[in-house]
Symmetry: C2
Subunit: 622 residues, 2 copies
């Protein structure tokens, strides 16, 4: 990725990120390259490196990143403003098109990067850059007389400001985030005035404003947040906003706002989310559409949107302690997020489809966004560094803690250290989840300590078992909000063993969802499976799965970096080359076939071809 | 429609057609209204009236139309040019953007209108206008030095010129049509130069030029016609061009061109056509896509495109005498063309979908074109007058004839008169086809005459029977290219009775067509059926048809102006309100239901709701 930012990767669109900062800093001549929000790609990368350096020594990467940060600092103007597009193209344009020019969005990513890099390395340079910019924005925007009354078209700064508030304790940042969130959607609409003032040039990015029913619903500025009850418009904007709003609701104990976020989260997860944790079912506007409208082929499910849903769910988990939020985090991480990246980390999906007829993706002008194979980089490269910061920052999702409680949200082997009130608690987690459901957690304590250990019982799991130091625990009795709760005096070396029986689940969709009628998906633990042409041939719509036969899970260490594959009894309808399009012939003959399913995230790491998550169910009638 | 052209229909988009001509003629002040090709709507209407007046007395309509024609003549410039957009907005723009400005397209419709009005009324005013404009275009375009080397972005003039050639005998018109058709797609591309010269304003209509693989494939100008082997790009442009090319191939006995047209027609009808005769499976570009890519919901199937396919097929029928072309004419006419108009004639579909989930059509920004109910008029109102000219001009499709042959292509009650070499032949056709398959044809002759009577045996029909004056005919033995051929001496009063047994056919799609996998459509005779919410409830994807049970056809005189409805044994999966999106529950319970199918063309003439042509087949396995 560092090479990409240096325009140093062959055969991919150029990033221009470092070039832009060098030009803005006066170190290089040239024009701005890339999209108006190009800076944010670099900020997400720095955030990822910050998370990474918290747990890894890597002098070269750290040195490179320090140099990038110095460059950003050099580009920053005296008043704290930093955005290479406007520094290079003219400062007259600043804050004139908040709807689409992404300045506040880039600022938010700068703040997130600064927080992570400071937390990971203890270095303050970027944090100070971020604070100066936050101060500049705070001096510019707000309810006070004479200040700019706008808010961003692409939400994100609210997330950054709240993180910056938590790191620095500066209440102005929290108040500014609250201002942006609470002013949004009030009438008269800020964007009405902005559009009236804006030049045609500055409006050219805004074709989609009027197409989502209520005005500005595309950017969730159609109503005040507490009055929004369905997830609408651009999915990343939406989920970034919900993330910040959920965070703010927690900080401010705002029960009304929290309940709005519960409602929106339920609307998404019960009516507008793919089984992979993907969201956004429409290419046009990269957007949510309507309840149960989840087409499998011509769809979006942007990697960034799944990541945003993870972020939103994490804030809700922190607010409520309910495991259902962690279930969705896990569902998205193992499926739609992970599918965004090739196994070797070098290529990426922007859109994560559920059904691919490769020829169609390549042949239809309106499916240009639905690539049937991962790409090396993008003109709009928001997704690759977003995956990177999610993977290097996985720790923030695995555990939560307060002064007397540790929540184990996800089962990922590794070590966690938690400074509780009663002393440091260390947790060593081992196992090979999600391939098997045996997880061992061993506590490291300097002295015995009383605290609560919450262990998530995954929503997909039936009959979970647990022992503490070899003694059986009554999981059902100890379960609260989806967590097994152990509140007691713990000793060094105490060991919890969890057993989550891994069965292959046959998943069916709500009957109001047309596209999956008569179809099933397979899931084992949190991992969603798919059929791929490489194993099963193409035209997968002609394949049916016999769900009455047992489905076998088989470890395949040599396959796709090591996966558990599934084999199942199925049928394939006979194909035909040419001939009549419509016939009076009977149904095509079917041949029995063994079907092989692989994890969805790993598809398209061999010969590219057709792929299907939702497979026709071979029906047995009485 | 006359009222629509007068801006005199409430609550619909204004047409401005007559206003534009009045302004162009200097009779009224004002600006041009509507789209750049607005004139063509009026021309199609005049053409329709011309066909209509050939068989009907209607003084008021004729007077109105004569007045319109006088107005057009007044608007015509001295050099013959007539196009209200450029007369009003400035003649500098003429011929500068052939790709999108539709001047030659409008000219073609003027010529078609003139021919029909002359043929129907004997009046020459419009014919002379059309010839003057054709002469102007002929003086402007062509291979000769100093002439403009362009050709239209939207084909149509080629059709008009060939009709004008046939009416007037003027060979220049034929040559100009041939020039346009044969120059098209030659390299270097004409449109490259035009784009380089054109102003940004004049290019603003052209977003879709680059999205169809080869340059200018959107308007079928990517290759010379004989090298085109698949139907690509904008479906109406394509089929209008094929229509003219097929006509030219016939006139010039150009076997290479004819074979290209056979190939393109086969590509369409064997790989790119809906079972209703609809074409164009993509909203974007109103276009053909790729083989077997025929989605049922987000699709196009514009009424005009089906009409264009009828026109193309008619030219091919004339060239070859093969009944398969008439089969497609019939398939389109009774289904996708007729569905374009409400039963009472006042409202219209532009897009004719095969599957409607009403909520989705109304709720998704990218489905704005797929209206779930007919509209009173359109900003782009190409379809309504196109249906009108097709219905009033139906005679041109029912029969063909040459000096010693009459072809009965379609079975429509009425009277035909044919001036054969051996004297006038009159045919009185009666019956209630397509509701039943009994057709009687009685010949009227002034004296016995020898000629050939070709009677189409519909492609959908098995076991056709026929008698001549009560004597059984051996249909199989007498059949040539799908026609029952009777070549003999006929006498006045000779009567042919045809019996086409009407069965309900269960139609299945080619296995390479993903969207109909596991589904069937019902057809009775040429009429395709559908399920509608008004009869069967909504969410029709949860309904399955048991094809092993008999399907009953029942005349319902009180239903939808009188149709034969079908009732069949089916099942409906249980619906659910709210609850989890994905579950491990077994397949939903199914309840037996009697399903009622109505003719597709008649859907949405009651309470608007969901609709489905392709219905899941309830499968019985051994």
């Amino acid at each position: 990725m560092y090479h990409a930012f240096n325009n140093d990767v062959p055969d991919v669109p150029k990033s221009y990120c470092l070039h832009n900062f060098r030009v803005a800093a006066g170190l290089e001549e040239g024009e701005f390259g890339g999209l108006v929000f190009q800076d944010s790609d670099l900020y997400k990368y720095i955030e990822a490196v910050g998370f990474y350096l918290a747990n890894h020594e890597d002098t070269r990467t750290e040195k490179n990143c320090d140099a990038i940060i110095d460059l950003i600092a050099k580009a920053q103007l005296d008043d704290g403003y930093v955005n290479t597009y406007f520094i290079i193209n003219g400062l007259d344009g600043r804050w004139t098109n908040l709807a689409e020019n992404h300045e506040l969005y880039c600022a938010g990513h700068l703040m997130e990067a600064a927080c992570a890099y400071y937390a990971g390395t203890g270095k303050r340079v970027l944090l100070e850059v971020a604070c100066r910019f936050a101060d500049c924005i705070d001096a510019t925007f707000g309810p006070q007389p004479g200040k700019h009354k706008g808010y961003p078209g692409h939400q994100e700064i609210e997330i950054g400001l709240l993180k910056l508030y938590e790191i620095t304790g500066e209440k102005r940042y929290r108040k500014l985030a609250a201002y942006f969130l609470r002013t949004r959607g009030q009438k008269p609409y800020y964007f009405d005035g902005e559009r009236a003032r804006a030049s045609e040039e500055s409006l050219r990015h805004s074709p989609q404003w009027s197409s989502f029913g209520e005005p500005y619903a595309y950017m969730q500025a159609h109503r005040p947040l507490p009055d929004q009850d369905t997830a609408v418009g651009h999915a990343v904007r939406a989920c970034y906003m919900y993330t910040a709003a959920a965070h703010l609701a927690g900080i401010e104990k705002d029960e009304e706002l929290l309940q709005s976020m519960v409602r929106l989260w339920e609307n998404i997860t019960q009516k507008r989310m793919y089984v992979t944790g993907g969201v956004g079912s429409m290419i046009y506007g990269e957007a949510f559409t309507l309840d149960y409208d989840l087409p499998n082929d011509m769809m979006y499910s942007e990697t960034c949107a799944s990541i945003a849903l993870v972020m939103f769910s994490m804030r809700m988990l922190n607010n409520t302690g309910e495991a259902r939020y962690a279930d969705v985090i896990e569902q998205a991480l193992y499926n739609s997020v992970l599918s965004g990246q090739q196994l070797d980390g070098t290529r990426f999906f922007y859109v994560n489809p559920m059904s691919v007829w490769r020829k169609r993706c390549l042949g239809r002008a309106d499916m240009e966004a639905v690539k049937p194979e991962r790409q090396g980089w993008f003109n709009c490269a928001c997704c690759p560094p977003n995956i990177l910061r999610t993977l290097t920052g996985l720790g923030q999702y695995i555990y939560s803690y307060s002064e007397d409680t540790v929540l184990v949200n996800l089962y990922v082997a590794g070590n966690g250290v938690f400074p509780l009130r009663g002393g440091e608690v260390r947790i060593a987690q081992s196992g090979s989840y999600p391939w098997d459901g045996d997880v061992t957690l061993t506590l490291g304590l300097d002295r015995p300590a009383e605290f609560a250990l919450h262990l998530r019982i995954p929503g997909w799991c039936r009959n979970a078992q647990a022992t503490l130091n070899g003694r059986d625990l009554d999981v059902a009795a100890l379960c609260r909000d989806g967590f097994l709760v152990l509140r007691q005096l713990f000793h060094d070396g105490d060991t919890v063993c969890l057993h989550f029986p891994m069965t292959v689940d046959v998943v069916r969709s709500h009957p109001s969802l047309p596209f999956n009628a008569g179809k099933v998906a397979l899931r084992r633990g949190p991992v969603v499976y798919c059929l791929e042409e490489a194993d099963n041939g193409g035209e997968l719509w002609n394949v049916a799965l016999d769900t009455s036969c047992p489905i076998k899970a088989q470890a395949e260490p040599g396959l796709l970096d090591g996966v558990i594959a599934l084999s199942a009894q199925g049928y394939r309808k006979q194909g035909k080359t040419g001939g009549e399009l419509y016939t009076l012939d009977g149904p095509p003959a079917q041949e029995a076939r063994t079907l092989r399913f692989i994890p969805y995230y790993a598809w398209c790491n061999r010969t590219p071809g057709d792929m299907e998550v939702w497979v026709t169910e071979y029906e047995h009638h009485k």
